[in-house]
């Protein structure tokens, strides 16, 4: 009894500590996290739709899902590069990382638009 309750309490404590730790992250990182979440959520909705109606224009489905996933991946890369706690990218100015992020996204979306059909 104490074990289960401790597990529950532990889970609760873990959740709270995570939440408070997260609150400490800088705002720009939170923006990026929000963007990633938005992208993944959109992908999920597309997968559900495909599961419902079948994958007839398969290329369209792929392009939709991959655009979401691709942009999420690029955002994660941006987050890594912008995060000040990351010792590896200490010398890289965040504007430069953003300057990389924008064209990569544009190229990804060009390819996606071509594949959309």
């Amino acid at each position: 009894m104490g074990r289960t309750s401790s597990t529950k309490e532990d889970a609760g404590a873990l959740f709270h500590s995570l939440r408070s730790a997260y609150a400490a992250t800088p705002v720009n990182l939170k923006i990026i996290d929000l963007y990633v979440g938005f992208a993944i959520f959109t992908a999920l909705i597309q997968v559900v739709y495909m599961a419902m109606v079948g994958s007839f224009p398969f290329n369209s489905f792929l392009s939709g899902v991959l655009s979401c996933v691709g942009t999420a991946v690029l955002a994660v890369c941006l987050r890594i590069q912008v995060n000040k706690e990351n010792k590896e990218f200490k010398d890289l100015p965040p504007e430069r990382a953003f300057a990389d992020f924008v064209p990569c996204n544009l190229v990804l979306h060009l390819v996606i638009m071509n594949f959309l059909g």
Binding site: I31, G37, M52, E95
Partner: protein, 692 residues
């Protein structure tokens, strides 16, 4: 073009008529029409004087009228050649040769010039051909201009120089440098030597002329022979350039021989059968397709027609197939090679032998009657011993005047294949079905093989079918045709053919169905019967449908052979096939529109969530540059990104990839420039902030 085609067809027809190996037809109208076709000048004149001469000489021999425009153009080229000082001896030779036929006038000055040039050529000659052209030219000019004084200087010396080119085997060389000798050159040499003798016969030692006789006899030792008795000369093919071919070579030798015989009083002692053999060679060619070959043939035949050695006579047959029904008579013509008349003679039929049998002659020796109207010798009525079939008739020709035998030559005996045809009587034909063991007749019907039959019989496998008939020739003898077949054809088109055997006149075939059951593939049913009797000598060969027979054969066992597959009606296999209607791919099932629109709305939801989240986070635009220059760049940067996204929308809706890429190129460059400016400005600003 159409004329050429017509001429070609005429040649083809004549060649096909002329196929008979042992029969040699003298020259006829088919040659004349072929000559007119072959010797057509290009734009009114021939390529060279040699060709002009050949055409004129051929027309002259064949008796074709001289066309005035041809003569006129010939005269023009002759006078041109004769007048020109650069003409060689060869040109003058052919010009004078053509002139001997065209008979154009050559003025005295020109002929004097020719004579002096030819004399110079003779003294300067070193090869056989040089001598030939110069001496030949002098002979011709002597005949053509009566006033000119033609004198050959040192005739004996020239004679010896030409003779020096001779070889021991009777052939001649062309020059002292060239070791190759040929019979063609021998002919040219003989003509040249004959020319020298005719120009200055008194100056030449008779013994020299006699040695030539030996040369000629040695030359004739090398003559070659075909199976049908034709004789010809041919040189070994050593150097393709010099090789002339048997026709040209034989014709050259013959020209030389007859020219030489014409100038010498001595007897050449050449047996007449050699001339007859040569005549057979030239006539056996029928109508040559080449102008040069045609000229060689006709010129040689003209030499044979009137020469001092011996003139061969040819037997010709208007028809070698005689019909007993029409009561045809055997007709024979005797003429020279060019078809001229001959002195009176008798044609005897010495014997007739059945082809392939060595028995004694079927007829006695008898003379043929001469019919003045047609000029042919006719055997009135074939003897009774000659029935239908193919025979070899042997003829002999005897000249009436003994002195003609010196001049003319007729071979000893001439063998000719003759076919006799007639109506064969088909009698006593009947068909019967017999019982196998007892041999008794179950049903018997009479057949009329000349007319229509519709016999209907039936038999089972234990019975036999018998067909019999008799064949009799017009003279009542038995006759065995090449083909005597009985064909049985089943409804399913499977056929069986049987040969009808004979003993004497009686032909009979017995089909024992018991033994034939397997051959017939156990197919029962209606069989059509057809009888074929055929032979080349039978004028009434027949192929009649006799009727049909219903055969009842036992069932086929398991392992019985199947009948061979019958040929398929070609139209059903290669004809048009059934029409195919194309089945297009059914379009995919699409989801209902409302569902799609609902999900479209659902997809927008996360975007809204994102925007709301941003607001909750307290997103602000504080870092937006205030100074005008960076501000412009910032604005332009955002505008640029927006423009690219708009371009993507257009790409999806309307544009193709190339247009998009082009525009993207421009926008990209702009964006890079602008982005770089604003971001470097922002970076500088934050760096300043950090350091401060």
């Amino acid at each position: 073009m159409a004329r050429r085609l017509a001429g070609f067809l005429v040649l083809l027809l004549v060649v096909s008529i002329c196929e008979a190996a042992f029969l040699f037809q003298p020259i006829s109208d088919s040659h004349r029409s072929a000559a007119l076709e072959l010797f057509t000048p290009d734009h009114g004149s021939f390529k060279s004087l040699e060709e002009t001469y050949e055409a004129l000489r051929t027309f002259q021999i064949l008796g074709i009228e001289k066309k005035p425009d041809l003569t006129a153009t010939a005269c023009r080229s002759i006078s041109e050649t004769v007048g020109s000082s650069s003409s060689t001896a060869k040109d003058l030779f052919y010009a004078l040769k053509a002139n001997s036929i065209a008979e154009c006038k050559i003025d005295k000055k020109a002929s004097k010039g020719i004579i002096s040039r030819l004399n110079a050529s003779v003294s300067g000659a070193s090869s056989l051909l040089d001598f030939y052209y110069s001496v030949g030219g002098l002979v011709l000019i002597k005949d053509q201009s009566s006033e000119a004084d033609v004198h050959l200087a040192d005739a004996e010396g020239v004679f010896r120089s030409v003779k020096a080119f001779s070889q021991s085997d009777g052939r001649w060389r062309y020059s002292s440098n060239n070791p190759e000798s040929s019979a063609f050159a021998a002919g040219i040499a003989l003509e040249t030597l004959a020319g020298i003798v005719s120009l200055a016969s008194s100056e030449i030692d008779q013994s020299l002329i006699s040695t030539l006789k030996n040369d000629i006899i040695k030359l004739f030792d090398s003559i070659e022979k075909y199976d049908d008795g034709a004789l010809y000369f041919d040189d070994k093919l050593v150097d393709g350039h010099e090789y002339q071919g048997p026709l040209s070579t034989t014709s050259s030798v013959l020209r030389g021989l007859t020219a030489f015989a014409a100038v010498t009083a001595e007897n050449l002692n050449l047996p007449g059968d050699k001339m007859l053999g040569l005549a057979k060679f030239f006539l056996g060619i029928c109508v040559p397709g080449d102008a040069k070959d045609f000229f060689n043939q006709i010129d040689s035949l003209a030499c044979l027609e009137s020469n001092r050695v011996s003139i061969p006579l040819i037997l010709s047959f208007p028809s070698t197939v005689l019909s007993l029904t029409r009561k045809d008579s055997l007709k024979v013509g005797v003429s020279t090679v060019l078809g001229s008349e001959v002195p009176s003679l008798t044609v005897k039929l010495v014997g007739a032998f059945s082809s392939g049998s060595k028995d004694a002659s079927l007829v006695e020796s008898q003379e043929l009657n001469f019919d003045k109207a047609s000029g042919l010798y006719i055997l009135n009525g074939l003897p009774k011993s000659i029935d239908v079939g193919s025979y070899t008739f042997v003829f002999e020709v005897v000249l009436h005047e003994p002195e003609h035998e010196e001049v003319y030559f007729m071979g000893s005996q001439t063998k000719v294949p003759i076919s006799v045809t007639g109506l064969i009587k088909v009698e006593n034909s009947e068909i019967a079905v017999l019982d196998s063991d007892l041999g008794s007749i179950e049903s018997q019907k009479k057949l009329d093989l000349a007319g229509k039959n519709a016999i209907s019989l039936s038999a089972n496998h234990l019975q036999k079918l018998r067909l019999s008939f008799q064949l009799t020739t017009p003279h009542g003898r038995s006759f065995k045709p090449h083909q005597a077949f009985l064909k049985l054809r089943h409804e399913s088109k499977v056929e069986h053919i049987f040969v009808v055997g004979n003993s004497g006149k009686q032909f009979e075939i017995v089909l024992n169905f018991l033994g034939l059951v397997e051959k017939f593939f156990y197919l029962s049913g209606k069989y059509d019967m057809e009888l074929t009797i055929g032979d080349a000598a039978m004028e009434n060969s027949l192929l009649v449908a006799i009727g049909h027979i219903e055969l009842d054969l036992p069932e086929a066992p398991e392992k019985a052979p199947r009948p061979p597959p019958q040929p398929v009606d070609p139209y059903s296999r290669y004809g048009p096939k059934a029409e195919i209607t194309h089945i297009f791919r059914a379009p995919e099932k699409r989801p209902p529109q409302e569902l799609s629109l609902a999900f479209l709305g659902l997809t927008i939801l996360p975007l809204l969530g994102f925007l709301i989240g941003l607001l909750r986070l307290g997103v602000n635009l504080k870092n937006f540059p205030t100074k005008p220059v960076p501000a412009t760049f910032a604005v332009l940067f955002h505008v640029g990104i927006g423009a690219v996204l708009l371009l993507y929308v257009f790409f999806w809706v309307k544009l193709d990839l190339f247009q998009t890429l082009k525009l993207l190129g421009f926008l990209g460059v702009f964006l890079v420039f602008v982005g770089h400016r604003i971001l470097s400005h922002l970076a500088a600003a934050s760096a300043k902030l950090k350091s401060a």
